[in-house]
Symmetry: C2
């Protein structure tokens, strides 16, 4: 066993994996490309996903900052090479070549926080084949995960904000996240997706995400009585106390004790900040607690609710008149569990080699890739709302009246409308292996917020959303059909 | 933003989070305990879960090695303290106390790889209240995640092994795992749960897990023809080549080309190792491919299958006569997606303070904790099979004929059988903050294997399993009922 070097990036202040974080086959293929003298061929790989997470109408693209930092820094250390030598799969001459390996390619991508859709190239790597091949695993890992969580966050935040009284979201999933770094990545992505704060102190330190928290049941149980415990916490943080009401009984014990403390704080010139509900019927309890707080003259005490929340539970609490101000969301936000299955199925496919189109057919036609160098165009109507995305060949632009087709079914065609303006939303984030793009996390968060507002009506609906149209330009669809025929014709032959 | 120190543990060779990886409220509560002079009180917290993951009959306990290393090393660096000062929540005197903070408590736990069940204390921390409080977040994070994945792995491996022809599992979920470290933790836990190998090179380097892999579609597309691509790979690894058959068409193109290469290798004194199916009807394709390989004289060429597999898909492939030798399992293994929801809901509850029992009631009686210092006993029948687990007060042992009760429902009682031998399966893994336990990962893997074999019939069934009995000893159940009454009686009072 070796000790691969770890990198703590001073920019994103995140632990990044070494180049050795890859699938074995990337290295055996690199070896093969190198041995055959094919490794310097110019390849383009597209990264995309086929279905929106959570059966929703969109994705929120996240993780790009981390991905670029990984690409900038990926190297093989002497310890890494010694480990690879020990596997018996890699001869010395190839390992010597790996010692000098670095990523020198170009990367074009949607900027972080952009709202994105299935079957469009979210990120494209263009450069030497063996470079583009190695980084597949890490790119997919970082971008799949953070995009999944940012999307979940946008859904949860949207549900919370749909209350007539407003509502915000606190991410506190660290204890259920997939490992310590999974918790950090989730906190980062959830912030991009719109959450207001996190309970994760390390995420606050690394990313500057606002921290929030209350106290636990153990605090209450550590004092002779619940009231003693509440008083002790309020004495410590007289202007920043949120009391957890359900250690013994929310309405019979927690709330009366909290009201006592609220009055005591008021008498001393302070104010109880909030109360937290963590079990029971949150709609009923929040209505009741709100009414009693208001009657007692505490309309500004906020109600925090938690307990296995997700966007659907939040919607149901609001539908039943619940009066929650802040939703603490843990497990399902930090892991993307539930409908999302805990993973986004992003893929990374070779689409061009030495200027020639490449594609993969497989048994499932819907999984066939879209070959070639491409551009993505995002259309905006006169009202400022998005009208759809069109993917064209590299040097083409969408034309009003053009018949464009669905990437998964060429029979589904639409005609591009008059009066839309088309813009390429992607940016060159790396060139020659150097970073060409950098922005604070807040900029990604703001992009997500404004992009979501610009989507067509129904796109952000949680269930059965409007399906945003991503289409292939006419020439690209024709080229793809032609290549598909050629591949089928020569199938099996040499 | 600060730069919290990161620790690369030379023993487990894993990146560990700093002490700052905790929820904000742990620190505000620590501050409160410290301010009130309560921080040195001796507390016991129990870590347990309430439902087996994946609606199954057991859990495979994993992550303990990482958790102990975290506890040994958790410290607050000057940069951490500077960040905490910046939050405005922590005065200098408390931060000065934190500078000297370290974990000095005792930890009793099931050894890693043990098969475990709901509502039994898997790990108990006994020591100063503020120490036990801080580490809740990291302990739950590490142990919830790795136990989830080890359990999933055991299910998947069990399904693969149920074929009359045998079958093993390769973990290759890195590209869909929750962050780079999530992929490493998943590879580690999956190995404990019984997988044979991983594609994750970094996991191989860090944990010594055997590496395996094939090649990707991009390899095939990078050559003039599929046969050229197969020949090039076989030239590179003449005794370690597994060819991916479905880039164009599995039966019409991939298989005939693989047979050509198999014959060419044979003529040169080598042997094709395997072929891989990655799309289509795996039961039909694997039967057909097996028959054609056998007819052609290649009975030793292994069939690897992949494509969104989990334990249920594997069972169905086997049920339909599929002839897969190695299942490559990615997303659902590395994230515990599907029925598991991507998370195990382990909790960490205060059960004793200064020798006195503590418990939490809440609105949901099934969520009430089991108070007090306890021991876990695992019963073994004369046939060597487990008969059930019993939790007793600290100084008690189970007695034949004792009426023991279900932790979630005191009305469900059973009588302990004659002739069972009872053993405490937990070990003291830390004492005085020092590690008292260490073992190679292979030992945990072997423990999981043998423990699973000893479970009662039906416990490892994937759906509607036999429910292994975990019971409270008579005295513990009585003490709990009495404390519950006392708490209810004084509810709302001071």
């Amino acid at each position: 066993m070796t000790d691969p070097a770890l990198t703590l990036d001073p920019r994103s202040a995140r632990v990044l994996p070494p180049a050795l974080f890859t699938d074995l086959y990337q290295l055996t293929m690199m070896h093969g490309y190198w041995r055959a003298g094919l490794h310097e061929q110019t390849a383009t790989f597209d990264l995309y996903y086929r279905r929106n997470p959570f059966r929703g109408g969109y994705g929120v693209w996240a993780g790009l900052g981390d991905a670029v930092t990984f690409l900038e820094r990926a190297r093989f250390t002497p310890a890494d090479l010694a480990f690879l030598a020990d596997t018996g799969l890699f001869p010395d001459d190839f390992l010597a070549a790996l010692a000098d390996w670095r990523f020198t390619a170009r990367v074009d991508a949607f900027p972080e926080g952009a709202v994105v859709f299935p079957n469009e190239p979210l990120l494209s790597v263009t450069g030497p084949l063996w470079e583009a091949q190695l980084v597949e695993t890490a790119l997919l890992n970082i971008l799949n995960f953070q995009t999944l969580i940012a999307t979940k966050a946008a859904r949860v935040v949207g549900a919370a904000a749909s209350s007539p009284h407003g509502g915000t979201v606190l991410e506190f999933g660290a204890r259920r996240a997939q490992g310590p770094d999974g918790a950090l990545g989730a906190a980062r992505a959830a912030f991009v997706g719109g959450v207001t704060s996190t309970s994760n102190v390390l995420a606050g330190a690394r990313y500057g995400i606002p921290l929030a928290g209350t106290h636990a049941h153990a605090w209450v149980e550590s004092f002779p009585s619940e009231l003693d415990a509440f008083r002790a916490y309020a004495a410590l943080y007289p202007d920043a106390t949120t009391l957890l009401l359900d250690t013994y009984d929310t309405l019979a014990s927690g709330l009366p004790n909290a009201l006592t403390v609220a009055r005591e704080l008021q008498a001393r010139g302070h104010a109880l900040r909030g109360v937290r509900l963590d079990s029971g019927d949150l709609a009923y309890l929040s209505r009741t607690v709100r009414a009693r707080l208001d009657e007692a003259g505490f309309p500004d005490v906020r109600i925090v609710a938690s307990n296995d929340l997700d966007e659907f539970v939040i919607e149901s609490v609001i539908r039943e008149g619940g009066r929650v101000d802040i939703y603490g969301v843990g497990t399902r936000l930090a892991t993307g569990g539930g409908e999302g299955g805990g993973a986004l199925g992003g893929v990374y496919k070779l689409v061009a080699l030495n200027g020639e189109d490449r594609m993969k057919l497989t048994g499932d036609p819907a999984k066939a890739s879209v070959p070639g160098l491409k551009r993505v165009w995002r259309g905006e109507g006169a009202d400022g709302r998005l009208v759809g995305d069109v993917i064209t060949r590299d040097r083409q632009t969408p034309r009003a009246g053009e018949a464009v087709s669905d990437p998964t079914n060429p029979l589904r065609r639409i005609t591009l409308p008059e009066g839309a303006s088309w813009r390429d939303p992607r940016v060159t984030v790396m060139d020659g292996g150097e970073r060409r793009w950098s922005e604070p996390l807040e900029a990604a968060r703001e992009r997500a917020r404004t992009d979501l507002q610009r989507t067509p009506e129904g796109t952000t609906r949680l269930l059965n959303p409007h399906l945003y149209r991503v289409s292939l330009g006419a020439a690209l669809a024709e080229d793809r059909a032609r290549l598909m025929e050629q591949l089928r014709a020569r199938m099996g032959g040499t």
